[in-house]
Structure formats: C-alpha cells, structure tokens
C-alpha cells in the first residue's frame, strides 16, 4: 500500500494516512487552532495551512475556543480538518458524517468526499450514502467478507441483507 510492504513497512505510511473516526483524536483542553498547529508541527506542514483548513471546515469564528466547549458536530469538523491537514493521499473514514448536520456534511464534501480526489476507505452503516460514493464495495457479516464488487453491480437491497 502506497509503496509499503505491510505489515513490516508500516512506518513508511506515517504522514500518508488521514484518519477520521468516532474519536476526534484532538485534545479537549486546547483550542481548534492549538490542536491543528500542534499537528502541523508534527507533520512538518506550514503554519499558513492551519488557517486554510480552519476556514475550509467553517470554524474560523470558533477556532480559539477550547474543544470541550464546542458541539459534537463542530468537534467532528475540527477532526476532519486534522485528517486532511497534511494533505494525505489516503483517507480512512469511519462514519465520518456522524454528528454532522446536512449543511456541515455538505461543507466537508470537497474535503473528505468523492470531490476530494483522494483514495478513501469508508466504513459506514449508511447503505445508500456509502454506496453512492463508492467505486468498490466490501460487505462484511460477522467480520467475514460476504461481497467485494464494483459499486455499480451492488444494490442497496443486497447490502441490507447483510444485516438480516
């Protein structure tokens, strides 16, 4: 993956994967800006990029407040900003729109959605939504692979059967 022979060369992937999941992986006591500036230093990213991603997720007017004072949706937007801060070629997304209202989900679409142009691995129980933005679908039941096919050959009904 990305030129690394896994699992032995997993160290080669550091800095190449953006992860957005249930936990924001941000410090509650720090502000959005402090969190992202810290991540920027760790990734060797220019400080100016922090302002860009904060604007991109629509948090410019709340960026200096501690994360613990923000709503769940705002924290998820901050986590999305962290995930794309270093412009990673691969995004791992685990229910990335959890806690987002429709307007916020639309705001993040160019950053983490199909429009982002990145390779994305999306984990979701939203059958229609997930199918709509996938090229390839992997269906699991009880942790075992049930299907692995191009998205156009898979129907929502078939995917729902995995839950029965």
């Amino acid at each position: 993956m990305l030129g690394a022979d896994l699992p032995g060369e997993s160290w080669k992937l550091r800095g190449q994967i953006g992860y957005l999941g249930h936990d924001p992986l941000l410090y509650r006591e720090l502000s959005v800006r402090q969190n992202l500036e810290f991540q920027a230093r760790l990734h060797g990213v220019a400080a100016a990029r922090v302002g860009q991603v904060i604007d991109g997720v629509g948090l410019a007017n709340r960026a200096d407040e501690p994360l613990r004072e923000l709503s769940r949706g705002m924290v998820q937007r901050a986590a999305a900003a962290r995930a794309i801060l270093s412009d990673p070629p691969l995004l791992l997304l685990d229910e990335p729109r959890a806690g987002l209202d429709p307007a916020a989900a639309e705001l993040l679409e160019p950053l983490i959605g199909r429009q982002s142009g990145r390779t994305r691995v999306l984990v979701t129980h939203d059958v229609e939504g997930g199918l709509g933005e996938s090229d390839q679908v992997l269906g699991l039941r009880g942790g075992r692979q049930e299907l692995f096919e191009p998205a156009e050959s898979v129907t929502a009904t078939r995917l729902r059967e995995l839950y029965s």
Partner: protein, 230 residues
C-alpha cells in the same frame, strides 16, 4: 514515510503541547506541590518536633518528592490515552523517541516547579532557623536527580498508560526503579543541609546519579519505540 520535522522539533512541539494543556488544566504541578507542602505541614505539627536535620531531613525531603513524582507520572499520559492524542501522534511522520523526549522534558519541568515550591516550604517548616543550607549545590543535586526521575517516569507512564489499573501500576513500577536514585539523592543532600559531610562523598553520589541518569536515558530511548507500537 513523508519528511517530517526533526527529532528535536517534534520533541519541542510535544513539550509545548503538554505545557499548554497543563497551563489550561493545572492538574499536575499544583497537585504535586500541594501534596508536598501538606506532608511537611503534617510532619511539622504531627511529630512533636520542630526541626529535623542530617540524614533524617534529607530522607524526608526525598520520600516526599518521590511520592509527589508519582502523582505527576500518573497524569503524564492521561490526555494521550483518554483523548486519543497519541493515535494522532503515531500517524505523524515523527520518530517515536520524540514522544519520550517531550514527555520526559515535561516531567522534568514539573519536578523543577514542584521543588521551587516544596524545598522552601521544607526549609521553613522542618529545618532549624539559621540552618546552613548550601542552596546552589542543593539545586545541582535536585536537577541532576530530576533528570533520572523524568526519564524513568516517562518510561513508566507510557507502560502504565496501556493498563486499566494505571494508578496502581505507576507506583508499583516507578518506586522500585527509583530507589537507588532516592538513596543517592538523599545521601548527596544530607551534607548540604548543615550536617557534616565531605566534598569527595558528595561528588561520589553525584557521579552515581549521573551514571543512573545516563543508563536510564539510553534504556528509555532504546525501548520507547516498542512500547508505543505495542
């Protein structure tokens, strides 16, 4: 791996982050200082004697500082594990050794701040008025010992952070490891608290502390990568 920051830039970033969180929460240093001052007050009023001297005074000082260190070590990785910060750090293109350096440096600064409060309180409450305390050599002993405490503390904090009974594991791992350091620190401190002692003896204990610091710094750097990966 993408080109990330150098080892010391990453360590500095981690240290700045920890100091920013401590400034905001004030969880570690105030608790450590309050604990130490409380112990000295209890000893002052509870033992029926106004002053201590020599080996007993040095021992009391170091036992108190060690127990206060346990409080700081317990909190060192809390934000990383409870808020998932360490996972974001592990995704970044930084050498894992930077995490050790950042954490050990943070603990070292916490210990220095603790001693800025605790040692004057100790002198005021437990030493006889007019005791000849050699302040500069004492500061040297404290700083040299703090390096070892910070190295072992950061290592133990990383090990304990993966366990559910972190509050129990930290003292069980930390205290046995720092017993030699506490003995050396107390022995080096004794002649500086007005008791009789010779310069060669002090230098011998300082040499021991220096060797201990070096061994545990190297050991921690060697094993820290594996601790974080596992």
């Amino acid at each position: 791996m993408r080109n990330g920051p150098g080892l010391f830039s990453a360590s500095w970033a981690l240290l700045r982050k920890d100091l920013a969180i401590e400034l905001r929460t004030r969880e570690s240093v105030p608790a450590m200082a309050l604990f130490s001052v409380t112990v000295f007050v209890l000893l002052h009023f509870g033992t029926g004697r106004d002053t201590f001297s020599g080996g007993l005074a040095a021992g009391l000082l170091w036992v108190t500082l060690l127990l206060a260190t346990v409080l700081g070590v317990n909190r060192l990785f809390v934000a990383e594990r409870e808020q998932g910060g360490i996972d974001a750090v592990l995704l970044a293109p930084v050498d894992r050794t930077a995490v050790f350096i950042g954490k050990a440096a943070a603990l070292f600064l916490y210990l220095v701040l603790l001693e800025v409060v605790a040692v004057p309180a100790f002198a005021l409450l437990l030493l006889a008025q007019g005791s000849a305390v050699a302040v500069l050599p004492l500061a040297g002993v404290l700083l040299l010992t703090d390096i070892g405490l910070a190295a072992v503390g950061a290592l133990v904090a990383a090990m304990a952070s993966e366990t559910r009974a972190r509050d129990l594991v930290v003292p069980m791992l930390l205290l046995p490891l720092v017993v030699p350091l506490a003995i050396a620190g107390a022995s080096a401190t004794e002649p500086l608290l007005g008791a009789a002692g010779s310069a060669p003896e002090l230098l011998r204990w300082l040499g021991f502390i220096g060797v201990y610091d070096m061994v545990f710094l190297l050991l921690s750097v060697a094993v820290f990568d594996f601790l974080l990966e596992d």
